[in-house]
Assembly symmetry: C2
Homo-oligomer: 430 residues x 2
């Protein structure tokens, strides 16, 4: 009885062309992060359920893969990289120099409803700087988001910035701080549902005058300085929060990214644990896909595990969504070549020579493989074409004796005869 | 009530210096694989238990993390990368060009006894070439193992090669094929328990004359050709199996790796599913750590899921063991620098200028970070030293006006004054 080779709903294989593309993207992200002095960490996929969910366990619970292991332990698979980072900080504090700046790219698991096109296993990419509550660090994260996305080939990047602490101060001024949870939840949806529906929702619980001021606050648009001016007015004057936003605008201008940093008071990041700067990132032309990188500053990430607070600022990229977004903008490669050169096997007697040729090519950095059997050359060329390999080498006894090979460019079916390996390397490198 | 930030027994965090080291190693492996035309894939961490364990489920079962998910499915976390590869081949056959050569690096999970220093979450690195049963492919895997380990800085690499099919033929000749399972299990331990204990164990079930011949077979030592001659004799003459081994020896000689390929008939790979060439790899000086890369040729990997056979040859590297082995040979770096240059913050008024300097350095490929606060320079230097950052930049208003910076080499505490950014780049690159 055969077993059906099926995968679980919400899970999927990554085929070579997808995996090559993803690895390239991840390497570029890592390259950017390391240029900013960020270092990688990893944490276990499986942790104590209590550690991941807290003593109680909130709304996420239902989505968490949780079970009892062989030793009777209540365990769960990580559902994000933030909670494990908090646990990591608390556990390894003694070994870390502050400011501690880490990135973490890995799989997370959520038993979500797959009807909304969501996957149950997906990649997150988080980066955080933990240390002093400084504008320099806030800005560094924004600059790094811009550099990382640029390095991936994204153009027209806009990071929408606001300040949760300022928003709270503004709600205090309106005397409706008690409704802040409702307001945050409502305002967070404005981009999706529009201004009218947001107004209606606010009116249900908030006095009309206050609702109007909230709409004015989150609706402010225009140049950075203009919007900041409106926010200062609506919040009842300047403070460290508006000063922070002002300094960020100045740093953006000084470093040449002002065009990509927009003050947008409608960004509040819903019910997340942020307390300072918050931001979301959109790519021009596909704003509808939503934010590809979001985050903010928090007062404390480790309070569940430690009494000593650790403020920080960080962001998260949903890698699968970002890959989809870049694919929509740039087009995705649907084949990926496995090699640059296929050394065909014309004669089985020359098999050792073919492996020597391939070895010489590899030593010059040319990806090369030897076709394993002496089939008809047409079949071997067909394999190369199907695998996206651009060049084939054909070599018989005569060529071997003369120290040359014949090179075939598969796309044009052009044959370049009697080349030395050095000449092949030169041609392929172009 | 605080939650203790503990990790599960057998699981562990990867700190930056460990993770940087591991990523560097993985990138080098990937580089080698891609030079050989191997492409990456990935599969889900979680699969149907039936798919991973078969309808029955054998000895591994007890170690498998298996549970019922929200949808009532019987699921399990992958415990190796071989079974998922077989499932992958059966599921995606239509999209793959043969020969199909893939590598896969990922986490696997086994609830093993941690007392033996084993981890329950660890990294495997598998590579296989599926397609015709050809000597060229067998040899390519051996050559790639040699290249991959060399690329990691390993010296004195010895791949011990044998042939499971030949061993079976030999047992047939002795008329004890029915005891082959017992013999394989016993012979597989000879490296650990020694010749005498193996002889005693064989004597329990095998006639004395046959046991003696088995010991002669697995004990053969010497130059490749000599050992091959003994194997041919003991197995009752040449055959396709001994011809395969002979051809591998010739290819090794022709490609300059003869010193690293040793014929060793004691290699049988126990009860694994291999049918052809089998091999284990040892590093000089730390043979006691065991094989760092093992594998072989199999007739069919997908028979659980498909009627169409898919022969192949492949190998597996236990990454954690390899990292430990290389660490023992080369010494492990115990700090890893997060950046090349720390731009110190001498004056908070110049914060924009510091970010511009860091940006210029990054554009030149220099990893740079800005210290977030205007603390005493001594404190900032201490942070750089603790983080392994070799250079610090100090810049006040005078230097900014003149377009220069002062560069400090932290190890020697040497100050190099009034340098342009171009000069800094040049110095740091050295």
């Amino acid at each position: 009885m055969l077993i059906e080779p099926r995968v679980l709903k919400g899970f999927r294989d990554s085929l070579p062309h997808q995996e090559i593309h993803k690895k390239r993207l991840v390497h570029r992200l890592e390259d950017t992060f390391s240029r900013f002095g960020f270092v990688p960490i990893d944490t276990p996929i499986l942790e104590y359920a209590e550690v991941l969910l807290g003593k109680g366990g909130g709304e996420t619970d239902k989505q968490v893969y949780r079970f009892t292991d062989h030793g009777g332990r209540d365990v769960a698979m990580r559902f994000d990289l933030t909670v494990p980072f908090a646990r990591f900080l608390a556990a390894n504090r003694g070994e870390l120099a502050l400011p501690f700046k880490r990135y973490h790219i890995g799989k997370v698991f959520r038993g979500e409803n797959t009807q909304r096109g969501r996957y149950r296993e997906f990649f997150q990419c988080d980066f955080d700087a933990v240390g002093p509550d400084a504008v320099s660090t806030d800005f560094e994260i924004l600059l790094m988001i811009h550099a990382a996305l640029s390095n991936l080939g994204a153009r027209d990047i806009t990071i929408h910035v606001s300040h949760r602490g300022l928003f709270n101060r503004f709600l205090d001024g309106l005397g409706i701080r008690g409704e802040s949870e409702y307001v945050l939840r409502t305002v967070d949806k404005v981009r999706k549902v529009g201004r009218d529906q947001t107004a209606a929702a606010l009116a249900e619980r908030i006095p009309a005058a206050a609702a109007e001021r909230i709409l004015a606050y989150i609706g402010a648009e225009g140049p950075y300085e203009t919007v900041l001016g409106q926010m200062v007015d609506l919040a009842g004057g300047a403070g460290p929060d508006t000063e922070r936003l002002r300094a960020i605008g100045e740093l953006a201008a000084a470093t040449g990214v002002a065009e990509s940093v927009r003050l947008d008071p409608s960004i509040t990041r819903g019910l997340d644990y942020y307390t300072g700067v918050v931001f979301e990132t959109f790519l021009g032309g596909i704003e509808s896909i939503g934010s590809v990188c979001s985050g903010g500053r928090y007062d404390d990430l480790v309070l569940l595990y430690s009494k000593q607070a650790m403020p920080g600022v960080g962001a998260s990229i949903g890698l699968d969504r970002l890959i989809a977004a870049l694919g929509e903008l740039q087009g995705l490669p649907d084949t990926a070549s496995s090699a640059d050169v296929l050394v065909t096997m014309q004669s089985p007697d020359l098999i050792a020579h073919y492996h020597v040729l391939a070895k010489q090519l590899r030593a010059a950095g040319i990806r090369s493989e030897v076709y394993p059997e002496a089939r008809k050359l047409g079949q071997q060329f067909a394999y190369a074409e199907r695998s996206g390999i651009p060049y084939a080498i054909v070599c018989g006894e005569d060529e071997r004796r003369e120290g040359v090979v014949n090179l075939r460019r598969l796309e044009t079916r052009e044959n370049i005869e009697r080349r030395t390996i050095e000449q092949v390397v030169e041609t392929v490198r172009k």
